[in-house]
């Protein structure tokens, strides 16, 4: 049931929280308004209670001024209209009741013509005789005042009595019992207040609903905006997984978290792309390198088989095929060696050895080649002990020495130096050949890269320096080449010293 989309889930939670907050605010505001209204009514009721109480102790107006006991509050109203207050003391059964006179200035507080006006009823607590009542009093007033009077303490000092204002139907009333024995009930209709509260509730609901709508819309927009880069990232990633490695995420907002993610992903994609391209190039180069020996074998054998030959001719063909096969074997061995280094499967011996001894052995090994090319080998070897694989390190030195001899001029020199520098074993091999063109230097250690395009012959696979680099790096060292054109190249191998 719960939607799986992040956008919808965020929106759902966001909406729920917004509704809870709005309902909380609305209910609180409603309660505050209601309390305020009721307190105002309480004050009004008590004010009127006080006035009626004072009126009870006025001397009967008839004894003072001969005026009628009860005066109509609105003198200019037509006489045939029924007076709003009935003074029941003129009736025979009210003779013993205390005198009551509602002052003119307060009579308007009990406007019986107003359907929502205040009403009152005054009864004697001794004989439950009605002393006075307003004509607009509700039917329940008579019953309530009788039961209420008995419950109200009379011994309390004057003032608001602990009679809790009550609501009956739509009417709100309170009462008081005077020490002199009169129970006074004052009330009013709640209708206007209730109507107003309803209006307040409606207003609050409307405002809350509006805020909710605006909030939801804003949230939807915000969530959509925040999540847009994700859909872009996923569509780009889909294209890349479909094989188009050149795709990149359009990361315009690099400041946001998703922008940073996009940047990280883009750099990952770029590296993947490069790695794929290199792998493809490597495979193409390897295939290319195998093509020449295979064409030699095909051409040689097809020529030989075209007609009957003598034994010498067949021997020549077989020898050429052998040379081609040897070349392929060397290439395949080099490729496998590199592949093992790439996969981290090449197991290196780790033992402490004197690199000077290794270098001296290598010098001895390449001596015949140097003699053949009339190149002089010069060395300055200081004892340096390193940790590593003796055979592999010897392979590096031999390879570099062979290169230095092969690319040297006749009667040239090869210098081999070994020393400790800045906590590293430094092996330097320099020659007096033509050097390396600046354009070739950065690519020297790339697989199948040949600075001299002509040296595609049998002995040169174009992988030698790449293998040297792989070996040195596996020993935690570095290899670099520098050159002064026309005056020779220099290779420097740096290896960490034995601990």
């Amino acid at each position: 049931m719960i939607p799986q989309s992040i956008k919808w889930r965020l929106q759902l939670w966001y909406g729920l929280i917004l509704v809870a907050v709005l309902v909380g605010f609305g209910v609180t505001a409603y309660q505050l308004e209601r309390g305020r209204q009721m307190r105002r009514l309480d004050d009004e009721l008590h004010h009127r209670l006080g006035i009626l109480g004072i009126a009870m102790h006025r001397p009967p107006p008839g004894m003072e001024a001969g005026a009628p006991l009860f005066d109509h509050p609105h003198r200019d109203e037509p006489p045939d209209q029924e007076p709003p207050f009935q003074d029941d003391r003129h009736s025979p059964d009210n003779r013993h009741s205390p005198a009551f006179h509602l002052p003119l200035e307060t009579a308007h507080l009990f406007d019986a013509t107003d359907p929502n006006g205040f009403f009152f009823r005054i009864e004697s607590t001794f004989d439950h005789q009605v002393i006075a009542h307003s004509t607009n009093e509700p039917a329940f007033a008579a019953a309530v005042i009788k039961s209420g009077a008995s419950r109200v303490e009379t011994s309390l000092p004057p003032g608001p009595r602990p009679f809790k204002p009550q609501i009956v139907g739509q009417d709100y009333f309170t009462m008081d019992v005077r020490p002199s024995g009169e129970a006074i009930l004052v009330g009013c209709s709640l209708a206007p207040e209730l109507a107003e509260l309803r209006k307040t509730a409606l207003n609050l609901t409307a405002i809350g609903g509006l805020i909710l709508l605006v909030g939801l819309a804003g949230g939807w927009w915000l969530v959509g905006r925040a999540l847009r880069p994700i859909s872009e990232i996923s569509s780009t990633a889909a294209k890349i997984s479909a094989g188009d490695l050149s795709q990149r995420i359009n990361a315009a907002e690099t400041e946001s978290e998703l922008g940073q993610l996009a940047a990280v992903l883009n750099s990952t994609f770029a590296r993947l792309d490069t790695a794929f391209a290199q792998q493809k190039q490597f495979a193409a180069d390897a295939a290319h390198e195998l093509r020449t020996p295979v064409s030699v074998i095909l051409a040689q054998t097809q020529t030989a088989l075209a007609r009957e030959r003598d034994a010498a001719a067949y021997k020549q063909t077989v020898e050429a095929c052998q040379r081609a096969a040897q070349r392929m074997r060397r290439l395949i061995e080099s490729l496998l060696e590199l592949a093992r280094f790439d996969a981290g499967q090449e197991v290196l011996q780790r033992r402490t050895l004197n690199l000077a001894q290794t270098a001296a052995d290598c010098l001895e090994m390449v001596q015949p080649l140097a003699a053949e090319r009339r190149v002089k080998l010069l060395s300055d070897l200081q004892p340096v002990s390193v940790t590593g694989d003796p055979a592999r390190l010897a392979q590096v030195v031999t390879n570099l020495l062979t290169n230095a001899i092969q690319f040297n001029r006749t009667d040239g020199e090869v210098h081999l130096r070994l020393a400790t520098q800045a906590g590293l074993a430094v092996l330097e091999i320099s020659d007096t050949g033509n050097g390396i063109a600046p354009a070739d230097l950065p690519h020297l250690f790339e697989r199948f890269y040949r600075a001299d395009k002509s040296r595609t012959g049998a002995g040169n696979s174009g992988l030698g320096l790449a293998i040297c680099q792989a070996i040195v790096q596996a020993h935690g060292g570095t290899i670099e080449a520098s050159s002064v054109e026309k005056s020779g190249a220099k290779f420097i191998v740096r290896l960490p010293l034995a601990a």
Binding site: H288, S295, V296, A299, Q300, A320, S454, T456
Partner: protein, 216 residues
């Protein structure tokens, strides 16, 4: 037909030269770009087999320079097989393109094709009256009867037939029928011509005294 092979792998060069010689071509060889360009520019070859990766001038450079002066048909040999390499080869003025490794039979067929195109022929068969020269099978027949010819005799007939109607000088014949290593004895050509006349009829090859030979 005289062909130049420029290839730096010695074993490949040797076997190609031998195979093409056995096919009846006169073959010159060059093992690097500089020698290759020198030969290609100095001699009117019927076709050049040119490797791309060469010491010295590479194949592209030789082709670029050669096209300034000569339209000799060129077949490029390369180990690169990607489309852009093939496009580059053909756009640089190569007449055809062969990717290593290749079968010799395919090399022969492509060579025949570019040589044929070089003299504006579209088929391998040339017919002159009752004479029929099949350049693919290297068989010459007269009135549907195959005639036995030596390789050199066949080459002579083929060359004159391909240039039918034109007078071919003795120098041209020497250049196209013999490679650089053969001593061009002046009467060797006359011997071949007279042998062909014995086998195919005396009036096939017309001698233009002081000019050369011609098949009309």
């Amino acid at each position: 037909m005289r062909i130049l092979i420029v290839e730096d792998e010695p074993d490949l060069l040797a076997s190609l030269a031998q195979a093409l010689r056995e096919e009846g071509y006169a073959v010159d060889t060059a093992a690097n770009g500089d020698d290759g360009f020198f030969n290609a520019e100095g001699t009117d070859y019927d076709a050049i087999v040119l490797d791309v990766m060469l010491p010295g001038l590479d194949g592209w450079e030789i082709l670029r320079r050669l096209r300034k002066t000569k339209s000799t048909p060129v077949l490029m040999l390369t180990a690169r097989d990607q489309t852009r390499d093939r496009v580059k080869g053909l756009d640089s003025g190569a007449d055809d393109y062969l990717v290593k490794p290749f079968d010799l039979q395919e090399l022969f067929a492509r060579l025949r094709a570019i040589i044929r195109r070089g003299v504006n022929k579209t088929t391998n068969v040339i017919e002159i009256g009752g004479l029929r020269v099949d350049t693919a099978t290297r068989i010459v027949s007269l009135g549907n009867q195959p005639v036995e010819l030596t390789a050199r005799e066949y080459s002579l007939v083929e060359f004159l037939a391909l240039h039918r109607g034109a007078v071919v000088t003795r120098t041209q014949l020497y250049e196209h029928l013999f490679d650089e290593n053969e001593s061009s004895l002046s009467n060797l050509l006359d011997v071949h011509v007279s042998n062909v006349r014995k086998k195919l009829g005396a009036d096939l090859i017309v001698t233009r005294r002081g000019h050369g030979y011609c098949i009309e």
